[in-house]
Symmetry: C2
Subunit: 649 residues, 2 copies
């Protein structure tokens, strides 16, 4: 039974809660007991924990069945696949110094995975690697992955990181006793080459590492969070509850489709008959011993704020890679205009900017006399024309507008809009590319919305270079400047999606993507800035920027899969618009961030800086970015000469 | 004129010596002056050093020719390509903070390379990156490589590494002032993805870094060593000479086809008329001012020991990757037998081992009475039969030999050999696979030569497991044991050859290769050992070994492209045979080392250990190795389930 039903048809995995169980030969009873007790699935040991291949008599082993819990027939196929996650024997130790134990472990692991596959389980939980070495464990898994069906393997990892790095205080014991379970996970998944069927089940202990260290995990493929009953506190009424930090973490897990699993024995004596909710079980006079923990998790789930309308709309876009638009080469479709025109926040910012510019341009005393010439370059189906006219009305200024648009399909709509709104005397439609249009007069104000997720990536600089020919010497461009920003991120999901193409091109392409399962590892830094108009004779749209990111020390080591990119634009004076996280315009949905991948993820150790280079290169027919990392170690140059990804002029 | 002519038709590049020149508009004169002076080629600046693109008047720049030294017509095409290496303007600084200088540098670099390509020069010398940053320089080169013909680009790198790492003594100034030019080269070539047209020209200064630090460079693509006249010492007669260490290094360069280039002004006043050699120039009454340096280099070249016969024979195999034999699945060809049978050192070791075993087995008093049953398993065309018979003769023991061979073609030769030698009464030929042969009696001694470069890699263990059925309980196997060894190496050439296939399979294959242009970074360590006979009931031929290599601290950082593998076999008691470098059998040529590549080279920082894992895995139809690195960072598992490389049973 799901934890709850959130607004808008909750389809998230995280509404299910599981329970970790002990080995039990009677699987049907084990399952019905826990499902009846309110849990959605069980983490069940499949094989008798006393089994060791090396203890078997060689003669009998051939005829004897393996000591699995029951046969495949004891549950229905849908029960196996919907309600059971296999728990691989926890005694296995594939990197033991003891060769017999190692070989027993390998045989058992392969037998249990084969059995779980036979049962069509959705997932198996793999025990935490013992010690810090995991090469042989990873080797066996690689062999297993080669013939595994669709089953997921969840590697169990405790969420621990020793905080108090003693390096600075005592150089003699440098590195000693330092534990960071993320590093174990990282080695494991590198050995398994980010295999898409390998994911993480995090064990939540009673104390949590620092916030930035925990944040790393949100770029990883976490499938489950296992909370031991020992990690719960006790509230005033004697019920289990979680610390504030645990609560926040649980909520973040819910938001990332991570399922909770309760583990351990009941350590809270809940007074019988005082539970307010779930009367149904009370009537039957029986409560699952861990029911109060489950109730608390359900309570946390249900008290989450509902997703804002916009977030709900964007759910389907989360972590979904899109190729950036080619607005110069391709014409937008009606549908695309339709969506972008709905972004009222964006246009109200434009209206504010135009209003301020009009007032600056024309003093109140001249308002009735002077007509300002405003050109909307890239007018589309007219939203900026409308915003400009509203600004004129608001400020009582007189306006003459040229609406320049290169897409003939949009021009059709513009004509009918003007007729409909009665703007015939004010607005002149120009069906032309702004770069080649021969304007009959010069403009006071040039308004455009040519920005991409990374600011200049849809070639606003090149277009406005062409358009500023018909801007008066002292004319105003709205936007007057824009800057791109990047930050390093862990983004396992995106990396795997790119890798699945098995080519270079996809690793050298920047994608537009609604980032969700990512860990942002450092604050953003500005990359390229463009200012309009730019009358300097040597102006160039080529750019080069070297950036150094210092990841907070308490994060620990981190893996960089690429860079999240954003922009911020100054429309006019203090009116800005953008998606840079710390300053972003609220409720605007026209832009998702951009993502620049790395062909090989770069691991950064704590205290060691990350040095990154971005270039904006211009050719006669295209513009492109190149990028690379030079520290802690040099990556290849990405996208040389725009061989994989470019924007056509 | 070459430095000399070494024994056996010297085809090496290194017999040519060049000279670095100043910019000169008169290219024909510059060339003839230096060629006349005895040098084979000139390093010549192509463009006027005063040229800066940003200083040009925009109007005139279109019509004006670039200030190159002369036109393409001033030299013949063969003069350009045989005697001129272009020297890119040394003022260029692509990573300067000064944007104008950076842009001037990029334009000039591209213009000069384009000009050099137009002239079909074989190579251009690129100036050393200024400062420690080189990302923009590397980016430009990547762009250039995309459209470059066959020209090589030599990146000039001074051979320097500050030796006295002060870290231990003074932790406050850790890392400060540390210079290791190899690291600069390493970043550069990682950014250029080991481009095969990017190589190194090393500047030799008057002091040299430690031997192990210099040794790293022999795994790199060094094309030239530039020796400034300042780096020469003065001998008792006033002539220039080099220090012992410089001499050894120069000799090593000659041996690695690295050309010497003399640079700088004459700083040795050689008494006129006292030079004994090269009378020709004296007669003309003119000597090139740097002639005495050239003479000294020629002297060093000529006094090198001639290559041993075997090395000369193997010249063509240097750094040439061969797939290992599949001796069980394929039958060897007559030619292959022919070559291996010539390895007399190997067979004399076998003879010694058999002799010792015979004496141990049969005391002198029984020698005339007892006949020892000896089986040669894998007899081929009979060399081990012959060695065994010689051992019997030498020790006066009586022998009965079974020669077991699965290759029917070799059996034909065996029959004729026995008739020819009159061995009919002693040798019985068995045309069968030793693993399935039903022997009529049991053997005292089992002799085999089934070893591959990595010992067990041609499945000697599996074959001898089958053969030991017909060895007496107390019988002797020759070899009685063998062990494989590995060591980490830098091997740019091999890496590039593997990479050129653009697939995974070649990166997960072990190759037999005569290693030459490699840097061995640590001592070898043993990997797998097999002992014969092995009567233990649980014996398995699967193996797992974890190794930790500590690269000497004074090496500096190093890049590992893979692992060189060897074997050593104990034939009997103290008689061994092998190719492990520190103990190898002299003058044996049957085996080249084996090379296990890494898909991504691993960079190891000084003081940080390299942890490596090797597995030998056995299936029902094949045997294979898997391998990985786990420290300093985890590599992918290589060759999972033998997907790329395996040996058939």
């Amino acid at each position: 039974m799901p934890l709850g039903e959130r607004h808008g048809g909750d389809k998230s995995e995280s509404r299910y809660c599981g329970i970790e169980t002990e080995f039990d030969d009677d699987m049907p009873n084990l399952l019905s007991y826990n499902v009846h007790g309110g849990f959605d699935f069980i983490l069940a040991t499949l094989m008798d924990p006393n089994y060791r291949p090396s203890l078997l008599d060689n003669d009998t082993s051939r005829s004897r069945a393996l000591p699995f819990a029951g046969s495949d027939l004891v549950l229905s196929p849908s029960q196996w696949s919907s309600h059971v996650v296999g728990k691989i024997s926890s005694w296995i130790d594939l990197d033991s110094e003891d060769e017999t134990l190692r070989e027993d472990s390998e045989i058992t692991l392969k037998q249990e995975i084969a059995w779980a596959s036979h049962l069509s389980l959705q997932a198996c939980l793999l025990p935490t690697p013992k010690g810090s070495s995991c090469a042989n464990y990873a080797r066996c898994l690689n062999q297993i992955f080669q013939n595994l069906g669709g089953m997921q393997l969840w590697l169990r990892i405790p969420l621990v990181k020793s905080e108090d790095d003693t390096e600075a205080k005592n150089p003699d014991c440098m590195g000693e006793g330092k534990v960071d379970s993320w590093e174990l996970w990282n080695s494991f998944r590198l050995l398994c080459e980010h295999h898409s069927q390998l994911s993480v089940a995090l064990d939540l202990l009673s104390s949590l590492p620092s916030a930035s260290s925990v944040a790393r995990w949100f770029g990883e493929p976490i499938r489950a969070a296992i909370i031991n009953t020992n990690s719960f506190l006790t509230n005033a009424k004697g019920y289990p509850c979680l610390s504030k930090r645990h609560q926040r973490l649980a909520t973040a897990f819910f938001d990332h489709s991570v399922q909770i699993v309760i583990s351990g024995r009941s350590v809270h004596k809940v007074p019988v008959g005082t539970s307010e909710s779930h009367v149904d079980n009370q009537i039957e006079g029986w409560r699952h011993p861990l029911k109060s923990y489950l109730d608390y998790v359900a309570f946390l789930y249900q008290k989450m704020d509902p997703l804002p309308e916009q977030e709900r709309f964007e759910l389907g876009y989360r972590d979904y890679l899109q190729s950036p638009l080619q607005p110069l080469m391709d014409n937008l479709e009606a549908q695309t205009y339709e969506i972008f025109e709905k972004d009222t926040c964006k246009y109200s910012q434009y209206q504010r900017a135009v209003a301020k510019a009009l007032v600056d341009r024309v003093p109140d005393e001249d308002a009735s006399r002077v007509t300002t010439v405003l050109m909307v370059v890239g007018a589309g189906r007219g939203p900026l024309v409308r915003a400009s006219l509203q600004a004129a009305e608001e400020t009582d200024r007189k306006l003459k507008i040229y609406a320049v648009e290169k897409n003939p399909n949009a021009v059709v709509t513009l004509h009918s809009l003007i007729k409909l709104e009665g703007w015939e005397g004010i607005v002149t439609i120009v069906s032309s590319d702004m770069r080649s249009w021969d304007a009959p007069e010069k403009a006071d104000i040039l308004v455009s919305e040519l920005l991409g997720s990374f600011g200049d990536n849809e070639l606003s600089p090149e277009c406005l270079d062409g358009a500023q020919r018909f801007l008066k010497e002292d004319g105003i461009s709205i936007p007057s400047s824009y800057t791109s920003f990047v930050q390093p991120v862990t983004a396992c999901k995106l990396y795997n999606d790119i890798k699945s193409h098995k080519d270079l091109v996809h690793f050298e392409t920047a994608y537009v993507v609604k980032l969700h399962r990512v860990a942002r590892l450092a604050h953003t830094q500005p990359v390229f800035t463009f200012t309009h108009p730019d009358h300097s004779p040597t102006a160039s749209n080529q750019r080069y920027k070297k950036l150094q990111f210092d990841i907070p020390e308490d994060t620990g080591a981190a893996l960089i899969h690429g860079f999240a990119g954003y922009f911020d634009a100054t429309l006019y004076k203090d009116v800005h618009l953008g998606i840079e996280p710390s300053t972003c315009t609220p409720n605007m949905f026209s832009w998702f961030p951009i993502f620049f991948p790395l062909r090989t993820p770069v691991c950064v150790q704590p205290g060691s800086p990350l040095e990154v280079h971005f270039w904006r290169c211009c050719g006669s027919t295209k513009v492109w970015y190149e990028w690379c990392v030079t520290s802690p170690s040099a990556s290849p140059l990405h996208n040389t000469n725009g061989r994989s990804y470019w924007v056509g002029l």
